[in-house]
Symmetry: C2
Subunit: 250 residues, 2 copies
DNA sequence: CGCCGTCTTGAGTGCTGTCAATAGTTGTGG
DNA sequence: CCACAACTATTGACAGCACTCAAGACGGCG
């Protein structure tokens, strides 16, 4: 049994220092939707920044009324889906600048949990105001469609990967993708990429057991594709792991 | 090698008899987005009906510029995603009244193929006009968000199922879902539910091989859960197939 | 220093993919 | 109406891979 959220303080810290937050996160948020900041001068007033969320704290829970979209100022977050039988499935990892919570757009309540992995600061864009903004700025609507569809497409590709790729390739692909996303946020040229999630979370996301993940990481390490550390890794090769099995019809 | 699309005539038949089409499909289209018909009187002029598409005909292809959303007047459609290596993955089956083509919303071109399974008539809602409509009617925007997210959620659940459920449960679940969707469209109380797709398509969608699907269908039949026919089946039980393996933490 | 959670490693089993052959179905043409 | 061909579906034998169960190593924290 996990004691996640034991030191929970979520939502209690409404930060007043808006400027830094806006300058940082509004850009991120809007970059995600493909529009320029100056196109939405009135969007600033809809942003609120919350934190700090401690590891294990929930930003929102399944069933919570949908009140906002979220963007990460600092830290990292995972989203979890709970099946009807109570089993958990990690559905995504989010880093600084990432948008999450969009899974509930169009619905009245959230359908998954968002849990901080590292100490995190989160920006909110309230949905009530979002709707008004969308009506005013069609580009925002289009941008949100894009975010939703990109995510759905990742799911689809993810799903395809389960079948058409070996597990080694899936793990390698995940690490490459994660490295790319991390690098875009890292300051220096550090090639050591931290992994904020546990191996268990990572395994859940990849739809394998922690044991298998451990074995495969070792295999990839032995093969010289990566270098594993405690809670980090180095990417030594950019090409996919060999052993392709999907060379059928086109 | 399949000769699909050999008798292709897609897009050549622009139907002028709009009334029947509108009365039928606009309702469906809007029901999907959760808004009432009379709220969008001007939507009528944006609808065009095309057909007939023969089995194997493509309604759109990967890379085609996004020009419309589609709703099915009659017949059935599958969508296929092509991986970078050329392998195919069926990503969805659509019946009368279903909306498809939303995968490209927010993008400039389609990312999958839509292929008719049975002779089909398709209604188009052109995206150029859709944007204007969305700005005018926030409910439409919300409705489309809902459609997108429901789909994404299905993908997520689908993905969860790959890991947390036995293959028997996945197949049974698919049949139950398909039966429900079909029944909503059937006129009588026929319990024989037609399957418009091949077993190969179905297997691809379920991320298994046709051989495994065949074995599992037989198993479900033997167990008295379903009754398989050539291109149809009967659902004998509504409960999930036993053998759950996800009774962990909650 | 000792506890506990995370991670790793090992042995054995079961399920699904692969390969291959057969049976059934559909559509075409004589 | 029948016969043939092409496609689709089924069934069997075998092997590989990931899951399960179980034990041990590592690391953080009190």
């Amino acid at each position: 049994m996990k004691r996640t959220g034991s030191r929970s303080r979520q939502g209690l810290h409404l930060v007043k220092a808006k400027h830094a937050c806006h300058n940082c996160d509004l850009r991120h948020l809007l970059r995600k939707t493909g529009i320029e900041e100056q196109q939405l001068p009135d969007a600033v007033c809809t942003i609120r920044c919350r934190g700090p969320y401690q590891p294990g704290d929930r930003i929102y829970r399944t069933g919570d009324p949908l009140s906002a979209l979220y963007a990460i100022t600092s830290g990292s977050v995972k989203t979890e889906y709970t099946t009807c039988t109570g089993a958990l499935q990690v559905t995504g990892f989010y880093l600084r600048g990432d948008l999450f919570g969009v899974e509930a757009l169009g619905e009245h309540s959230h359908t998954d949990d968002a849990i901080a992995l590292e100490t995190a600061w989160i920006c909110e864009l309230r949905t009530a105001e979002l709707e008004t903004l969308c009506a005013k700025h069609p580009e925002l609507t289009r941008g949100l469609f894009q975010v939703l569809n990109r995510r759905a497409r990742n799911d689809t590709i993810h799903q395809v990967n389960v079948r058409k790729r070996t597990t080694e390739q899936r793990v390698m692909g995940f690490l490459q993708d994660f490295a790319e996303r991390s690098r875009a946020r890292l300051t220096g040229v550090e090639d050591e990429i931290p992994l904020p999630m546990t191996k268990e979370d990572m395994a859940s996301y990849l739809a394998i057991t922690p044991e298998t993940l451990s074995r495969i990481l070792r295999k990839l390490d032995d093969a010289g594709y990566i270098q594993t550390s405690v809670r980090a890794f180095r990417l030594l090769r950019a090409e996919p792991f060999p052993g392709v099995l999907d060379q059928d019809a086109g």
